[in-house]
């Protein structure tokens, strides 16, 4: 086994003058040093726009750009050699926030300019609605850059052997990796084998390539497998991020609390490369009015290149940002109207058959109202005044907040979106379910096995799963967009039902057309006699016959003439969060004391899986609300480890209560929908709304860390330092 290491310049904007690899190559134990000239095919990648170089040839666009790769016999030697690579460069002016990026005379991150996308959606007459409104709230919100902080840093192995490149790197979509690697390596699909199993967390951060491209180019050069594992610092410097955004909203409501208009401006920092920057902005625009019916909208957004770390997909993809802004707006509107915040949400919540603010009709089930109604019944909301009254110290104040959200399920209009599954009776008599979309920790493998076993009436123990392997499993699309339970689950259902028919046909071949078949725990019964899967497999083996089935499912589309590619979505998940915080008015520290999550699962397939998602989503939303922020200076990340990039620890975890509601989706597998993202975004505004409830300060710039809270408290009370 050889070890790889990447050499970088360490600045965010520069022009490379010369790369000298001699000293590194001369080091004993160094097998190869690769640069841009060693890339056999396209020196570029990206899910949509291939604007990121595998190895930088001339320009450095962000701190994490790879310039060279070293392959050596040990990790220590690879690291030493990487330091010996001399990169001569000249720093060039860069842009480090959206204000700098959008200037006419701004330095260009890419030759095409700094605007990746300018998106506009307008309906109705917002100005007219503002004029006749009972209340109008206009505010500006700032959202930080968030790190996925998955437990497993990017790592894996690549090997080039007998003309075939095998890449074993945790990712969310092996076929998408394969497609990009084929171009980079100038190889056919048959020559590139990608396996993504297991995956140590992803949250969107492994949707695009991480280290695969560099690793594969290194592996081409040596005779043997090459392994590379990013340190946490390398991970934070190079990995994809959640888009930092500035969102301004002007929102109006009438005297009854009906939201009549929303004017929204979004500035999104996509960093050095496109990633899914257009799509994330699209989601932010589509979800700008949150879970509500709004007839008059004027929404406009820019996705801008900067020399910051590139942003791409992250759980609640563009929705976390919009939801925070809109759920703050609704809270302020309710406050101005003297209206109960839950009632305000019930008044405006989208229902099936409504026309969405984007303009299309919502044909599928909508869970907003049921989750809100459930929230009204839970102890934390119902008895909030009682719970708030028992703060632990006189200077600590408690508050309870609520927020709701909808989250698109599926890739969106015009984008390929399908699920696929194979179900095979193996020679050993096992049921083997093959799906191409990796389980990234959320438990979809278990859900697929349960669905198939349920339909076959067999013990779960008979059902194996193989996943995410371009050779052994069917392409089932990406593990993202809250899509796999619904879309791939439907394919699993189709495969299992076909498999049952196949099994019946096989039995009829053996025992006649008129037999009576039952599907039982260990196999089938034929006219009352049990034939185990082992027995059936042996029989099939003797006859040289296979028993298998394939399921394929295409996601429905909105069928709406959209101004923005990939939009709109037609299916949505929903969740409502209720949070109780305790604010220390002396220090500004906030503790999340209790948290309630009410997701609409359609149908709960696995309650532990739902709870796990709800708890994880709450924590991610809590981190975003209270502490997470990638801190950088001119594109140089200062918070490059988990001692400076803070995420909640086990000690910060509150009691999370999960109460799923089931607004059955008739087209879903067993009625189920995805909840992976829906459980995340509303956690943030629920906490921020709870802080307001506790101490009457409204935090519009995240994170609401102790300093932000204390500064707001001092401002509000006009307190000087003499408190």
């Amino acid at each position: 086994m050889f070890w790889g290491k990447i050499a970088r310049v360490g600045v965010a904007s520069a022009r490379i003058i010369r790369i000298d690899t001699q000293a590194a190559e001369a080091l004993d134990g160094v097998m190869a040093v690769v640069t841009a000239k060693d890339v056999p095919g396209l020196n570029g990648y990206g899910i949509i726009l291939e604007d990121q170089e595998v190895f930088s040839n001339e320009r450095i666009r962000f701190e994490g750009d790879a310039v060279a790769g070293v392959v050596a016999t040990t990790p220590a030697l690879a690291e030493e050699a990487a330091k010996l690579i001399k990169i001569e460069y000249e720093e060039t002016p860069g842009v480090y926030n959206v204000d700098e990026a959008i200037r006419i005379d701004a330095p260009k991150v890419h030759d095409s300019g700094n605007v990746l996308l300018h998106g506009v959606v307008k309906h109705g007459d917002v100005q007219g609605a503002f004029r006749s409104a009972a209340v109008v709230v206009e505010e500006s919100y700032e959202l930080p850059m968030q790190e996925h902080a998955y437990l497993e840093t990017e790592g894996g192995i690549a090997e080039y052997k007998d003309g075939e490149m095998s890449v074993f790197v945790g990712s969310q979509y092996p076929w998408q990796d394969q497609r990009q690697l084929c171009k980079i390596l100038d190889m056919d699909k048959e020559q590139v084998h990608v396996v993504s199993d297991p995956v140590g967390g992803a949250f969107g951060g492994r949707e695009s390539l991480t280290i695969q491209a560099q690793l594969a180019v290194m592996a081409l050069k040596v005779d043997g497998p090459v392994k590379m594992v990013n340190s946490r610092e390398e991970s934070i410097i190079t990995s994809w991020k959640r888009h930092p955004m500035r969102i301004t909203m002007k929102t109006a409501a009438d005297a009854e609390g009906v939201i009549t208009a929303n004017q929204v401006r979004i500035y999104s920092d996509t960093g050095a490369y496109a990633g899914l920057g257009k799509e994330v902005l699209g989601y932010s625009i589509e979800h700008a009015c949150g879970a509500y019916r709004v007839k008059n909208v004027d929404i406009e957004g820019y996705s801008l290149y900067t020399n910051n770390a590139p942003a791409c997909a992250m759980r609640a993809f563009g929705v976390a940002q919009s939801t925070f802004a809109m759920e703050s707006q609704v809270e302020m509107l309710a406050d101005k109207l003297g209206m109960d915040p839950l009632q305000m949400r019930l008044t405006n919540g989208l229902v099936q058959g409504d026309v969405a603010p984007f303009g299309h009709t919502l044909r599928y089930s909508m869970g907003t109202i049921p989750t809100l109604k459930k929230a009204a019944e839970v102890d934390l909301w119902l008895n909030r005044e009682k719970h708030k009254a028992v703060a632990t110290k006189p200077w600590k104040k408690r508050g309870v907040g609520i927020a709701t959200e909808i989250q698109a399920i599926g890739i969106g209009q015009g984008a390929p979106d399908f699920g696929a599954a194979d179900l095979v009776l193996t020679g050993a008599g096992r049921l083997s379910l093959g799906v191409g979309c990796p389980d990234i920790g959320q438990g979809n493998n278990m859900v697929f096995r349960q669905m198939a076993a349920e339909l076959l009436g067999c013990d779960l123990a008979h059902m194996d799963i193989i996943q995410a392997d371009t050779k052994r499993t069917p392409d089932a699309g990406v593990t993202a967009a809250s899509r796999t339970t619904y879309t791939v689950g439907n394919a699993v259902v189709l495969a299992a039902n076909t498999f049952k028919e196949e099994l019946k046909t096989f039995a009829q071949e053996q025992w006649g057309q008129d037999i009576d078949i039952l599907y039982v725990a260990d196999g089938i019964t034929v006219d009352g006699r049990v034939h185990s899967y082992q027995e059936l497999a042996s029989l099939a083996g003797e006859l040289g016959r296979s028993v298998s089935a394939h399921g394929h499912f295409d996601m429905p589309e909105a069928g709406y003439d959209s101004p923005l590619h990939g939009l709109p979505h037609i299916m949505f998940g929903a969740a409502t969060h209720v949070a109780m915080v305790e604010v220390d008015t002396l220090t500004g520290q906030v503790e999340l004391i209790r948290s309630v999550v009410i997701p609409d699962t359609g149908r709960t397939i696995n309650i532990q899986g739902v709870e796990g998602q709800a708890e994880g989503g709450t924590l991610m939303g809590m981190g975003y609300a209270l502490m997470e922020s990638v801190i950088s200076e001119k594109g140089h990340i200062l918070s490059d480890n988990l001692n400076t990039y803070l995420i909640p620890t086990a000690m910060d975890i509150p009691e999370v209560e999960t109460y799923p509601v089931e607004e059955v989706e008739e087209t879903g597998p067993f009625g189920a929908k995805g909840i992976g993202e829906a459980v995340c975004a509303a956690a943030t505004p629920a906490i921020i709304n709870a802080i307001y409830d506790a101490v009457q300060v409204r935090i519009k710039k995240l994170p609401a860390n102790p300093e932000a809270i204390l500064t707001a408290l001092v401002e509000k009370e006009g307190m000087d330092d003499e408190h």
Binding site: M651, T711, D721, E722
Partner: protein, 290 residues
Amino acid sequence: MSISIVRVSKAAEIGILLERHRGAAKVLAGGTDVLVQIRNGNISPSILLDISQVGELRSVEFNLNEVSIGAGVSLSELVESEEIKSEFPSIWAAAKEVGSEQIRNLATIGGNLANGSPAADLTPPLVSLDAELSLLGPEGSRRIAVVDLVVGPGQTRLGPSEIIHSVHIPRQCERQGDVFIKVGKRKALAISVANVSASVCLSEDRQKFESVQLAFGSVGPKVVRAFVCEEALRGRSIDNRSIELALKQLDKEISPIDDIRATARYRRIVCKRIAKQAVQQAVQLVQERS
């Protein structure tokens, strides 16, 4: 590239070995700072002297005039000690606030001090309690005050072959009370944004401050005593007014900076607030003790 680990069994050997391998050897107690520094390339010792098994560095003795804690006593051991908790609640609280359970199981009181961090949680309580250190080197031992150990960030008065042997804290009488408060950005694994330790001694009638000692962490290059505030409290009645009045002087005594964790402004505001809280709580503690 490689590091030899030498396990030492007697305290007296440590100084000799450090002397013999000057510049090459570094002491390894819990390793929670040293290993991080090695990984980050801040230090590159070729020998690590593992002192974790030296028995005499691991004892806690309650003597008539002072409590002596071996430098190798882990923070978990301090947290688990009922005696420490009841006599020196500030030390107990500070130990409990360091890192995480796993870190506290390894980290030692000596290491927390010797690392010389201005954010070290154990330093403020020990400074406010007038604790002293026994330092041990090849030429024998000497005693210095804890407050004199650290010169600046990461820099101490330890000689090149000297180690901290033990920490000595004067016994507390029932008129004394001490409280530690830390402000971190989360509930575990949080480096202090600011912290304070207050040690008060009340008059016989419990109505006045006989003396107050205030030590602040993370608000300057090293832990600082607030002598002016302390002086302003001496002989004053124990009401909030005197505390607030005294703390008006605090700004002149601390010199916080802006860093990745917080701004200087926040640290100034919060220090005043937690100091007031710490003094009030210390007074309360004495009242409860009587």
